[in-house]
């Protein structure tokens, strides 16, 4: 069963993610984001740091966008590779997580500049939640 895939629009790119809940959607979105930015990589045993991220939003879509915006800021401004995250708690409109990061494994393949709300809507897909997020590049 697929957890994520990437797609292209005429001018931009996007990620399609599946998950049982908001936390799983965020975690899979992080994996998709990393695949676009750094390519397919095996998770090596690395020394990493923690960055706490807690967000209370108005919808799952809103939580996911803000989660990805935090990852984007850490990736491109702080130059961290956010490898993974541990979800402490998540609801339909909230998330409490620890982001694990280390140095960039390589220069990025792609610069993502923002996360959009374009046509963003949680849909049901065979019992799992599905979201398509268009990324501004």
């Amino acid at each position: 069963m697929k957890n994520f895939e990437t797609f292209s629009t005429t001018a931009d790119v996007g990620i399609r993610v599946w998950g049982m809940d908001c936390g799983e959607l965020c975690r899979n979105a992080l994996a998709a984001f990393n695949e676009l930015v750094f390519g397919k990589r095996k998770k090596a045993k690395l020394t990493f740091h923690f960055h706490p991220f807690e967000y209370m939003g108005d919808s799952t879509e809103n939580v996911l966008v803000n989660f990805l915006l935090e990852v984007l800021f850490l990736t491109f401004e702080k130059r961290h590779w956010v490898l993974d995250c541990k979800i402490n708690q998540s609801g339909d409109r909230s998330i409490d997580t620890q982001l694990f990061y280390t140095d960039w494994p390589s220069d990025p393949l792609l610069e993502i500049k923002s996360i959009t709300y374009h046509n963003l809507l949680v849909r049901d897909d065979n019992g799992r939640k599905k979201l398509e997020v268009v990324l501004d590049i």
């Binding site: 001018a11 966008v65 610069e111 923002s114 996360i115 374009h118």
Partner: protein, 481 residues
């Protein structure tokens, strides 16, 4: 929607009547050839024209220029005007790269002389100007210096770095919009912007050394300083991470404040009243980002001038360096227009569209007031760019707007696939175009085939009357992120 629902108003002008879709409060109008319209229908950008036509208070029609293509929320090439009093502002109608724009400088350097030094010039520009995904600006600015850039735009670069005072006259809005409150800009935006002043960025941003190849309008070209057989410099970039963060912050704020009131075809079209607190703050922050972008392009130009001075061993005046124009193509501006015989003040949103004001317009620089505003249309890196000028028809039909470039035809993924095994540099070198870039993948994404034919966009733009042709330029060197 269906092709049958599109009504022809002329060979290059089409209407989607408001009856086509229940949500529409106004008509949609698109300038383009039939093939441009058919491709806009296929890529869903006409649906985006409809979505904008469904917004409250739209004045006239939801418009799209001949380089229309699919964006998020608002199509690229979209123009929408709202009343300055009682109207709305939408960050999605400006785009993330606030004041992404194009600048053209003319020189009196003969093309043959530039061609002899083209390798040295290209490499020196690539080495000196930060480009691509990882290179940051060379200028370690303090927060106060950065705030001066946000307040004064290009004028701050002329004052603190160098350049010609005269150039400021030839920048849209003199390269500066009113901004007085740093409190409307987030710390994240400040942090992203501080390290990026004077950098080009990646994607479709570029610096080109060009040759003026053809003149169509001798009077306007002479006034713009363009001479056949001479060299010119074109720069395409915007407000970098700063503008993106401003847009991101305000889309988020608008959502939160207006959640209960707004039901939209696309959540990216979130808006606020112009006279609301958040609307006013967005416009201030947008102006700051616009000032950043004008300062950024001005600084890059000045770096290029210095490189030319060093390599060609001539002074700025000897080389005849002179800014032709600098224009925004992602911005919202308060403008006066005539509607039903009355003067009205509107907030005109242009996303991937440029101003194209005609001769006589009071906002034009005095030096261009009798010929009209230069409209810069860059093509792909393997084809021509054009200089057009604004017309009276543009004021009547498109709120004084025109196209902004070729417009993408292929996604980046499709372009890479198409260019698989292709040596993009060698291919362009065969056309005497030298390409300088640190990213092979970036070059493949930007192959000429990924863009619409600029000639079709230009012929359509001119055919619809919203601009007229002045000159054609061909790239000698392309420097890309």
């Amino acid at each position: 929607m269906d092709w049958k629902e599109i009504e022809s108003l002329g060979p290059f002008h089409w209407r989607i009547a408001r009856q086509v879709n229940r949500s529409m409060k106004s008509d949609g109008e698109v300038f383009g050839s039939e093939s441009i319209l058919r491709s806009a229908l296929a890529d869903q950008s006409l649906q985006q024209v409809i979505n904008v036509a469904s917004l409250p208070g739209l004045v006239g029609s939801s418009l799209a220029m001949p380089d229309i293509h699919y964006g998020y929320g608002f199509c690229i090439g979209g123009v929408a005007a709202f009343p300055a009093e009682g109207g709305i502002v939408l960050p999605g109608g400006v785009g993330y790269d606030i004041n992404c724009g194009v600048r053209l400088a003319a020189t009196s350097i003969p093309v043959a002389e530039a061609e002899r030094a083209v390798e040295s010039l290209g490499y020196a520009i690539l080495k000196r100007i930060p480009t691509g995904l990882t290179d940051r600006g060379h200028f370690a600015l303090k927060k106060k210096e950065f705030q001066k850039i946000l307040s004064r735009g290009a004028a701050e670069i002329v004052a603190s770095f160098g350049g010609c005072e005269d150039d400021l006259e030839r920048i849209e809005s003199r390269g500066s919009l009113a901004f007085s409150d740093p409190g409307v800009v987030s710390d994240k935006a400040m942090e992203r912007g501080l390290s990026q002043v004077g950098s080009l960025g990646s994607g479709n941003h570029f610096i080109e050394i060009q040759a003026v190849e053809e003149i169509y309008d001798q009077v306007a070209a002479a006034r713009f300083g363009l001479q056949r057989g001479m060299t010119a410099i074109m720069i395409h970039t915007g407000s970098r991470g700063f503008g993106h963060q401003v847009a991101t912050d305000y889309i988020e704020l608008f959502r939160k404040r207006n959640l209960a009131q707004i039901s939209l075809a696309d959540p990216q079209l979130v808006y606020a009243a112009i006279d609301s607190s958040e609307g006013r703050r967005y416009l201030q922050a947008m102006n700051a980002a616009a000032n950043f972008a004008w300062a950024n392009r001005h600084l890059i130009q000045e770096e290029v001038v210095r490189i030319f001075e060093t390599i060609l061993r001539q002074g700025r005046e000897g080389m005849g360096f002179r800014l032709v124009y600098d224009q925004a193509h992602n911005i919202a501006k308060f403008e006066n227009h005539i509607r039903n015989g009355k003067k009205v003040n509107l907030l005109v949103h242009r996303k991937g569209a440029t101003r194209a004001f005609p001769a006589g317009h009071p906002e034009l620089p005095a030096v261009y007031r009798d010929v009209g505003q230069p409209v810069l249309l860059p093509g792909s890196m393997g084809t021509w760019s054009y200089v057009l000028k604004g017309t009276d028809a543009a004021m009547a039909l498109s709120f004084g707007s025109s196209a902004h470039g070729a417009g993408r035809r292929m996604s980046r993924h499709q372009a890479i696939k198409f260019a698989s095994g292709m040596d993009v540099r060698e291919r362009l070198k065969a056309k005497r175009i030298h390409v300088f870039s640190l990213s092979g993948k970036g070059l493949k994404e930007e192959i000429p085939e990924a863009y619409k034919e600029i000639d079709e966009v230009v012929e359509t733009t001119v055919g619809s009357g919203i601009s007229s042709k002045v000159a054609r330029l061909v790239p000698l060197a392309v420097i890309k992120g």
